[in-house]
């Protein structure tokens, strides 16, 4: 344990010092790593720890992004005040989807598919109803002041992403040592056995999806404040859902550091393909290439390394 604590301290020191030592664009990449790790962790808490694989986690992300943006743009709220409301909205959506789906007894693939359909419904609604401005998307007025949740220097948004990531790691850590977390793992491993042991499976699954939804919504607000623009495709598109799932699966679903390691790995692949594209002219279209690699990694991880890259560090399988 002390070795892990030492590593964590070293990692934290490096993460704190990093933006002071590198140029701005690397600071932004670092910010993206921690931000993706954070939304990945929100997926991991439900999909990894509790085994409730979701294909539509973006529904929470978009709910958060739109809630805070609408409060801010349409009603003149301060974004810092809108943030907790956005999280609450994400939690409510998580609670609602969980109650509906788990009441109907949906499990496994069926749960994954229904979350995808919920995200589609939200995307189409955001595209059609007037208060989201439809397909045009919503612009937040640029006014870079800390009070407005906008920062001139990328270093502050970096530190905020780092803080979010640390909070999410602490939540995941808490799950590994609390009875709540133990119940979730029991549900993941064998739902019927967990029920036979007296666990209220339905209540626990609803709780975890509410928590996960609130976290993911926090990420949505953060994203909207960073880019000052959202539209239905960004906020409710399938790409972000896949990204959250990927970083967790690649790093190690159901582990504390899985999403962070997955996020580092994917960002590394991204940068390598970007470099390749600049060297090999035939590959100048970067985005698809890195996604091809992600897809192959997902297949390989599920097939060969179900505990993700984390298991390489640990050396022993989780499922004894």
């Amino acid at each position: 344990m002390s070795r892990v604590a030492l590593l964590c301290a070293l990692g934290l020191a490096a993460a704190l010092a990093y933006p002071l030592l590198v140029p701005n664009y690397l600071v932004t990449i670092g910010m993206l790593v921690f931000f993706t790790a954070f939304i990945g962790q929100s997926w991991n808490i439900a999909g990894g720890f509790a085994g409730q694989t979701s294909f539509g986690h973006v529904v929470f992300f978009g709910t958060g992004a739109y809630t805070s943006t609408i409060l801010q743009v349409t009603y003149g709220w301060n974004p810092w005040l809108a943030w907790p409301v956005a999280m609450a909205a994400g939690g409510v959506v998580g609670w609602m989807i969980a109650v509906l789906s788990f009441r109907a007894g949906l499990r496994g693939s069926y749960f994954a598919l229904i979350t995808l359909a919920f995200a589609e419904v939200f995307r189409i609604l955001a595209n059609s109803v007037p208060f989201t401005k439809g397909g045009l998307g919503m612009l937040i007025k640029a006014d870079p002041q800390p009070l407005n949740f906008q920062f001139k220097d990328p270093i502050w948004i970096y530190y905020l992403a780092l803080l979010l990531c640390i909070v999410s790691l602490l939540i995941a850590w808490q799950l590994t040592r609390s009875r709540f977390g133990a119940r979730l793992v029991a549900i993941r491993e064998n739902e019927d056995a967990a029920r036979a042991l007296g666990i209220d499976v339905f209540a626990e699954k609803v709780k975890v999806l509410t928590l996960s939804g609130a976290m993911c919504a926090a990420g949505g607000t953060f994203y909207a404040q960073k880019y000052l623009y959202i539209d239905p495709g960004i906020a409710f598109g399938v790409d972000k859902s896949v990204e959250m799932l990927l970083v967790s699966m690649v790093g190690g679903a159901g582990t504390i550091f899985g999403p962070l390691i997955g996020s580092f790995t994917l960002m590394g692949i991204n940068e390598v393909t970007r470099w390749l594209a600049s060297v090999v002219p035939a590959l100048k279209n970067v985005q698809p290439l890195s996604l091809v690699v992600y897809g192959i990694m997902l297949i390989l991880i599920v097939a060969r390394l179900p505990d993700g890259l984390m298991s390489l560090f640990r050396g022993k399988p989780r499922h004894a």
Binding site: S109, P288, L289, L291
Partner: protein, 290 residues
């Protein structure tokens, strides 16, 4: 407010679209019924087949309808090999695993298509594209009617094959009781691969029938995947008759949704039906008879 003739046109258009959806959904439901896996790559494989039809036309000048035998055979071979090399090795264990593997597969296929074919929308100009048939107040594009008829013929042929041929009987035996099928000497792994191949061959046929009136982009798969899943859960996972009825219902829903709610909001009907069926009657409206 709406003219009944207008409504009739919407229903007829929906039926025609539904005819092709049936073919897509039959492939998906066959794969589910026999292998018990959810093929999330279904839409992406359809997109790939549509590109095959497009390039056969663009490069060699083969008419999409004339390409049917080639594309069906090619799609069958592709599906068979894909099963042998990838799907078949991992279709045991937790059911989410194969879902994730087919998700990975769809990500790879979509983005390889984007790399090689570019993001542009591609269409085929067939000489008969502008021909219409007048039924009441409805003007129906001729290619849609041909495709509809061809789709029904192919579905009937598949049904006959499943009912009469030795392989069809073996497939049904494996779908019902794989252990028992193995005991009577059926090569179950081969049946799995053939079933997956037939499922993908249905996509090949659908691609040929779609291309005269539809377009293809690397993201076309997304447009179809939720539609196909909705049809299949509506009809009951694994049920052929269910997939047929579901296909028509969804075609009409989509057409009328577009008519009453507009192009954007009209799409919501399919997702809502999917959610409602899963929540209220996950076995589908029609009970499966394997």
């Amino acid at each position: 407010m709406f003219d009944p003739a207008f409504l009739l046109a919407g229903v007829l258009n929906g039926l025609l679209a539904g005819g092709i959806y049936v073919l897509v959904a039959v492939g998906l439901t066959l794969i589910y019924g026999v292998l018990h896996i959810i093929n999330f790559a279904h839409g992406s494989l359809l997109m790939l087949a549509m590109y095959a039809v497009f390039y056969l036309w663009r490069l060699i000048g083969i008419d999409p309808y004339a390409a049917l035998p080639v594309v069906i055979a090619g799609a069958f071979g592709f599906g068979y090999v894909l099963y042998r090399l990838l799907i078949g090795r991992y279709n045991h264990g937790r059911d989410e695993n194969i879902l994730l593997i087919t998700l990975g597969l769809s990500i790879v296929i979509d983005n390889v298509a984007l790399l090689f074919f570019g993001g542009d929308t591609q269409t085929i100009d067939v000489p008969y594209a502008g021909s219409f048939v007048e039924i009441g107040a409805a003007f129906l594009p001729l290619p849609k009617i041909i495709s509809f008829g061809a789709s029904l013929v192919i579905c009937a042929a598949l049904g006959l094959y499943m009912a009469k041929s030795d392989m069809g009987k073996a497939i049904r035996a494996v779908a019902r009781e794989r252990q028992g099928a193995r005991l009577v000497g059926i090569d179950v792994e081969n049946v799995f691969a053939v079933s997956y191949g037939i499922g993908i061959a249905c996509l090949g046929a659908a691609a040929c029938l779609l291309m005269p009136t539809y377009y293809v982009t690397p993201s076309s798969g997304h447009a179809f995947v939720l539609v196909a899943f909705t049809i299949v859960v509506l009809g009951g996972m694994g049920s052929f008759a269910g997939a047929a009825v579901g296909g028509f219902l969804i075609g009409i829903t989509e057409s009328l949704g577009g008519l009453f709610l507009g192009e954007q909001l009209g799409q919501i009907g399919i997702s809502l039906i999917f959610i409602l069926i899963l929540l209220l009657k996950p076995t589908g409206l029609f009970v499966s008879k394997a």
